[in-house]
């Protein structure tokens, strides 16, 4: 096992308070990507 994720990084990844804000941030960011819409690619006009 090689420690590729530092202890500090892991602390940030697993800290419930920090991760709560991350949860809100990710939810919004994902909504933007997902609700950002979709469409065709073969526009001829």
């Amino acid at each position: 096992m090689t420690q590729r994720i530092s202890k500090y990084q892991r602390f940030k990844m697993m800290n419930p308070i920090l991760q709560f804000f991350k949860f809100i941030y990710l939810s919004i960011k994902i909504m933007i990507v997902v609700a950002g819409g979709h469409g065709g690619t073969r526009k001829v006009d």
Partner: protein
């Protein structure tokens, strides 16, 4: 009055049926034909496969819901397609065979005005000799039944490890052309975390085996993504996670035969090798269901409807990887020969792969087939339903709703371990799903910012929140339609 028949009640079939029913008045009939009496939220099968969720938490019976909502449900499987009817039946129909109840074994010509083929993939275990879920110590998590079985197998290994024995665990793809690497990726990380939870991690060797050329290819040609303000390749991110978790990997492997505890594979160098294991979970190849189609004179017209999966408005002309474009990908999922037939979700035939195709020195194809995950399956089903609704309401064909995988984003929240405080998830979004190398030439075909990755506890909460939200939506509870696909 129109009759819309939906084949399949997976993510895409159920999404299409529920939107059709909500938006069409009761004079129009919505019929769902599906052999499985339950709706299953497949993404959570990963947690069933590690014993952290029970099957009943990921499924619910369809019949009571459909009865309540005014959707006709036939627990049957489609067998043959007759888009022109036949000598006796003037309307187009699908010959279907009931699989349950009094009518079990009997067939019915189910006529339609519009047909949505949402039958997803056939889990083609037969394509790999010896790859039989639950036999030869190899398992699958592709259905809740398989996942339950996988947990039994994994639990037996955990007990063995607890008694001090060593064990080898192999997880990945079970065929040179398999797809759905993301599901296997989730499973390997969940298994690894469970072994740590049971304090037996040190006794186990865990190996990833995959037909991908690079780690993190996921059948999507890999990704260049934003990660903590840096630009990172998905291969680097997955390598970081695997190394950190002590997971080994074998890439470019086309598994071709399974014996009890031995996976045989060919690699891109043309070498034939094998890997032993005590527990394996390998995703099988996905294929079409092998449906046949006939015209009104009973002539075989299968090639007008199927190319393995169903033919839609894609560009199927064969061209080299360098000439692939996003324009090859379908926009409306309409069959070009029979305009009242559509195929969203996994049921449509993709024009080609997304990942660069590769062959071994012996000419064996070893590279991922294109994945079609839950979100695009839901989005394509909804746009098909919307076009049918518009066509019915306006009395003429309407194809305003479009959604190419080359102009659509997707979120993939890969579980990396279960637990409210110890869980983890790798949250990845990608835009577009199919890389547009012309539009985004410097960032591997994707828009940075909209293509990003995150690792941490929030990912687990997100995946769990999605589990509850999508089951709520599928149960068509109040305001279900506000939850996006």
């Amino acid at each position: 009055m129109s009759k819309i028949v939906v084949l399949g009640a997976g993510i895409s079939g159920h999404v299409a049926a529920s939107h059709l029913r909500r938006k069409l008045s009761k004079e129009h009939e919505v019929v769902v034909v599906s052999p499985n009496s339950n709706y299953q939220w497949i993404p959570s099968n990963i947690w069933v496969g590690i014993g952290r969720m029970k099957s009943k938490q990921v499924l619910f019976p369809l019949a009571p819901l459909y009865k309540k909502k005014g959707i006709t449900y036939k627990q049957a499987k489609a067998i043959t397609f007759h888009p022109e009817g036949d000598a006796k039946e003037s309307k187009p129909y699908v010959l279907s065979e009931y699989v349950f109840g009094d009518k079990k074994g009997t067939t019915e010509k189910i006529t339609y005005d519009y047909l949505i083929n949402a039958t997803g993939p056939k889990l083609n275990f037969e394509a790999t000799e010896g790859l039989i879920p639950g036999e030869n110590k190899v398992y699958s998590v592709c259905t809740y039944g398989h996942a339950e079985h996988a947990w039994e197998g994994l639990n037996a290994v955990i007990q063995k490890l607890k008694s001090g024995e060593k064990a080898k665990i192999l997880i990945g793809t079970g065929h040179g052309k398999a797809t759905c690497q993301g599901a296997a990726f989730e499973y390997i990380l969940n298994v690894e975390q469970e072994l740590r939870r049971h304090d037996v991690r040190d006794n186990a060797e865990i190996t990833w085996i995959s037909n991908e050329y690079h780690l993190g290819d996921f059948g999507m040609d890999g990704m260049l993504m934003s990660y903590h303000g840096m630009t990172m390749k998905s291969s680097e991110m997955v390598e970081m996670i695997f190394e950190d978790r002590g997971i080994k990997w074998i890439l470019g492997a086309g598994v071709n035969k399974i014996e009890d505890g031995i996976a045989h594979y060919e690699n891109l160098d043309g070498e034939f090798k094998n890997e032993t294991y005590d527990f394996a979970m390998l995703i099988p190849a996905f294929s079409g269901h092998g449906f046949k189609a006939y015209d009104k004179n009973n002539n075989d017209i299968t090639e007008k409807l199927f190319k393995g999966f169903m033919i839609v408005d894609a560009d199927y002309s064969s061209k080299p990887y360098e000439e692939w474009t996003v324009q090859d990908w379908p926009e409306t999922y309409q069959n070009p020969n029979y305009k009242n037939i559509f195929a969203p979700g996994i049921a449509f035939a993709p024009p080609h792969a997304i990942s660069q195709p590769r062959q071994s020195k012996n000419g064996t194809a070893i590279s991922p087939s294109p994945p079609r995950t839950g979100m695009p399956s839901g989005i394509t089903a909804k746009l098909v339903a919307d076009n049918i609704i518009d066509s019915i309401k306006s009395g003429k064909e309407s194809l305003h709703h479009k959604g190419s995988l080359g102009n659509m984003g997707a979120a993939c929240i890969a579980s990396a371990g279960y637990g409210m405080t110890q869980g983890s998830g790798v949250s990845i979004t990608t835009y577009p799903i199919v890389p547009d190398y012309k539009k985004y030439p410097k960032t591997q075909g994707r828009q940075l910012g909209k293509t990003f990755g995150e690792i941490g506890l929030a990912g687990h909460w997100l995946k769990l929140a999605l589990h509850y939200a999508f089951i709520y939506k599928a149960k068509m509870r109040p305001f279900w339609w506000l939850i996006p696909e």
